[in-house]
Amino acid sequence: METAPHKIAAVPSPAQAVPCIRCAGVCVNFFQGNRSVTAIERLTLDVPRGEFLTLLGPSGCGKSTLLRLVAGLIQPSEGSVEVLGTSPVAARKRRSIGFVFQDAALLPWRTALENVALAIEVCREDPQQGLERSVQMLELMGLSSRLHAYPHQLSGGMRQRVSIARALVSRPEILLMDEPFAALDEITRDRLNEELRRIWKETGVTILFVTHGVYEAAYLGQRVLMLAANPGRIREIVPVPLPEDRTIRIRETPEFAALAAYLRNGMEAAG
């Protein structure tokens, strides 16, 4: 095993900041056929406010399950999950959580603008103001020329931008992303990776980003949460010793290569 990359360079530790998401001794069991499956076993995790945390692990390690726990879509069998000091469901009802799905999950009968505005329509805010904010969000995502395009008229990358705009339009404090760029081609993925970091800096939102890509996890995160499978558990939390204002070119540096190699070894051992 190589040396951990946090020994290569000093990293600003985000641990002193205000806690945003807190998981304490969380277990998730479910039943399948006539047996019980443990998706997550005794997971304890603190995510400070404003952190960009990437969740990396092989399939079946409970990455998506962890996101759904934080979103309040599923309840832990044991332990507790707190989001901004309250239950995930309460945080969700306060519009503190945005979620981006793997397949964009846009409504095909709505234009890009209408899809973004859906998030505001549902919470019965002023529709005019909601529309203005939706336009602003789509402009932030570089889609000002495709406001009235239907999803089938947009490319995969554009659809995912729309879904990010929809997640951000209600100004959430937490953005949960479940392998959002997995289905995109490499060039589009790289560009969206850079844009996501820019948006993260501009908005100060806390991001939990699930991926199975080593490079994506290393490039995006401040820390990488490595998960192991069967049952899903934390293998290691790896700090990312890279400068904050990095571009995708940083992948060509030896520091990045060392980090990626370390993560890859961990993934192989975990799978």
Partner: protein, 278 residues
Amino acid sequence: MSSDPNLEVSPPSSTAAFEAYLARRRKEAIQTYALPVVGIAILLFTWWAVVAGFHVRPFIAPSPMLVARTLFKNRALLFDNLIPTTVEAVGGFLIGNFAAILVAILFVHVRLLEKIFFPVAVMLNSIPVVAKAPILILIMGSGIAPKTTIAAFVCFFPTLVNMLEGLGSVDPQVMELMQILSASRTQILFKVRFYNSLPYLFSSMRIAASMCVIGAVVGEWIGSTRGIGALILQATYAFDTGLLYSAILMSTLLAGAFFVVIAYFEKITLLWPSETPH
């Protein structure tokens, strides 16, 4: 609508290749409309050839010319009888589909009711129309009501099955999204489920468009003196094959016209691509 989002639509330069493309498009369009006419012409010719060639007598089967003459001569009679059938078919279509949509919405929200009553609906549906008709005529008399009810019954089941599928088959990620947005069940129904079910609804309505005419005609067979169904019976007993074929043609045209209307509404409503099997 271009399927490739990266292709900007611009007026193409008038090249020879583009002219050839336009000519090919025109040819395809002409074929789309002209070839069915050729098919109908072949059918009419074969019909005429069989009747004339085998000297089939008019009370067994009429020639196309006899049917055309009868259509023109009895146009007032045919039209008078087409009206009640149309009213019954359209009324049954609206009632049957509306009831099916309401029941499907109820079933999707209260799954327990679906488990209790869906098998009952399957059983009632398996009774043949010709067996349902006498029952309804005994209960409802010989007016327009039993025929409309039969037409409604015929439309009800396909729409119920399709609407249950359409309202229930929302992309699980979209359902999770609505949950994260803390949307109410009413919002999910009107903003997601309803739109998701539209392709399914149109698919069943296209079937119902011709089925409801059949329902109305069968209802008229059992107990009626007016309508296309009654006319078919009277013409048969009188060996008036010209009138019989004319009446059948009228009911076919009615079903066809109804189908075209539904297809038109589908075209102007469903502006997004859907993968519903037709």
